[in-house]
């Protein structure tokens, strides 16, 4: 499989020009910031769960929801077929289509964290964990976008996933009554929050490697599914 950064950049630049004229996406991008601003103003001493609720929402909204809608729009308007018929490889198209959402997500997450006043004990490990989790959310958005037939359908099918991966960790509060909800502890967002809690209590990289491993496993699964669905979509 070939990989040309020039082709990835071409798709990224196209998306950048296109998204600046897409008011629906432009507005959605700023929603997590409004929430972060409100939370930051309401509460001086926000818990780690509070910070990560905002970060998770930023990731799921910008990373998954917007990515899902962008991919679904390419499918709906038949422009994805144009890219598939070009010399761009699967990796270049998925890479190019993910770059803008990834950059936007990182920027929104950083600004959200600043607005809620989150200052992690170990910025390097936390930055690495957030970046890694971002790949999962982008992959999830790409996968669901490829499965949807239209933007409308995409915005519906992503909802349960937004609930699970955005707010799923809250469900573990009821795990005593419903043991099945324990499974929510293993979602990438729950693992990210767990890393953050451990880092705040002074644990180093050695204490969070299992969390990183679980997140990487999610990334492998979601991207394997994404590539498989993409290749299937290349054929009628």
């Amino acid at each position: 499989m070939t990989f040309s950064m020039k082709r990835v950049n071409a798709i990224f630049q196209k998306d950048f020009r296109d998204i600046s004229r897409n008011s629906a996406v432009s507005i959605t991008v700023f929603m997590p910031l409004i929430m972060a601003f409100a939370l930051g103003k309401m509460n001086e001493d926000i818990s780690i769960d509070g910070h990560y609720m905002v970060i998770n929402i930023a990731m799921v909204v910008v990373g998954s929801f917007i990515q899902c809608c962008l991919i679904a729009e390419e499918k709906e308007k038949n422009t994805l077929r144009g890219l598939m018929l070009s010399p761009a490889s699967t990796l270049e198209i998925i890479g190019g289509k993910s770059l803008l959402s990834l950059l936007a997500m990182i920027i929104i997450v950083v600004i959200s964290a600043m607005l809620t006043g989150y200052k992690p004990e170990n910025i390097v490990i936390i930055a690495g964990a957030i970046l890694l989790t971002s790949f999962f959310f982008i992959g999830l958005g790409t996968l669901l976008g490829l499965l949807a037939k239209s933007v409308m359908e995409a915005s519906v099918i992503i909802m349960p996933f937004m609930l699970i991966f955005g707010f799923g960790s809250m469900a573990t509060m009821f795990a005593d009554k419903y043991p099945i909800l324990k499974v929510m502890d293993y979602t990438p967002n729950a693992q990210l929050a767990d890393i953050a809690v451990k880092i705040e209590s002074g644990v180093g990289l050695g204490g969070v490697w299992l969390n990183f491993g679980i997140i990487i496993l999610w990334i492998i699964v979601v991207f394997a599914l994404t590539v498989a669905v993409f290749k299937k979509r290349k054929m009628d």
Partner: protein, 282 residues
């Protein structure tokens, strides 16, 4: 001459419906090959198989001497251009921005964008946003995108279906120029005039089967009934055959200065299609 496309016993079945059945043809290098048939006859299915967008059920299809399954890799994609009826353009971007994306994907210079815009007669419109374009203009932008990387083989699915006569003529001139430069063109259309004007050879496709294939001129001769119609000044119309008796009649009409007009009764490709398939091309 080298065959660019070779198709043998091609068959495509969707669920229980046969879309293509025992299709055989070849397309020579530098040729404009017309694949003619009404909607639903299997033209687009054939293009999708030849461009690697669809797997055939059985049979053999090669492009540039390689099985069509190889059309999925980037290097093969650079050699072909595909124009389909669905534009696949980015509506919020300008014509130029749409072409810029593809010039980067194919690795061609920005100068080439201006060249293709000139071919499709859109140079002065390049800053227009695609969503504001008419159907005909969209078709021309899509064609410009298809021509950007100067493909050796062009698949054109109804290229002038949405165009007015002036722009159709402009596109036809562009296609003739491409042919003169050695580009091979696989053209599907149900416009018989377009096929007669452009194609070196045509194949009539009906219900997934090729019913007839030859040069348009040869087909017209083959299906001609060798008659002509003479319109007399008395408003009478007389059909004459190539017999001694009718030749004498013609001589008499001319000698008496009674001839208003003479029409040959050579059939059009549309007439031949109807005769062969019993269906109209619309």
């Amino acid at each position: 001459m080298e065959n660019i496309i070779e198709v043998q016993s091609l068959e495509k079945v969707f669920a229980n419906q046969t879309a293509l059945e025992d299709v055989n043809f070849h397309v020579k290098k530098g040729e404009i090959f017309g694949f003619l048939g009404p909607s639903g006859s299997g033209k687009t299915t054939t293009i999708k198989i030849l461009t690697g967008q669809l797997n055939q059920t059985s049979g053999k299809a090669t492009v540039f001497g390689k099985p069509v399954s190889g059309m999925k890799n980037g290097e093969s994609r650079k050699k072909i251009g595909v124009l389909t009826d669905n534009s696949g353009l980015y509506g919020r971007l300008s014509i130029y921005d749409n072409l810029k994306l593809y010039s980067d994907l194919y690795g061609v210079t920005e100068k080439r964008i201006d060249e293709v815009l000139a071919i499709v007669n859109l140079t002065s419109e390049k800053k227009k946003v695609v969503s504001k374009l008419s159907k005909g203009m969209l078709q021309r932008v899509t064609l410009a995108r298809t021509l950007l990387h100067e493909p050796e083989l062009l698949f054109l699915d109804e290229p002038s279906s949405a165009l007015d006569p002036v722009n159709s003529q402009h596109i036809h001139e562009g296609l003739r120029e491409l042919k003169a430069r050695g580009t091979t063109i696989f053209l599907t259309t149900h416009d018989m005039n377009e096929a007669e004007l452009l194609c070196d050879r045509v194949a009539f496709l009906n219900k997934g089967q090729i019913r007839l294939m030859d040069e348009p001129g040869k087909l017209r001769k083959q299906y001609s009934d060798s008659t002509m119609t003479v319109e007399l000044k008395t408003n009478e119309k007389v059909v004459l055959r190539s017999t001694a008796e009718d030749a004498q009649k013609m001589f008499n009409y001319m000698a008496s200065n009674n001839v208003a007009a003479i029409h040959t009764n050579e059939p059009t490709l549309g007439d031949i299609f109807v005769e062969v398939t019993g269906r109209k091309l619309s």
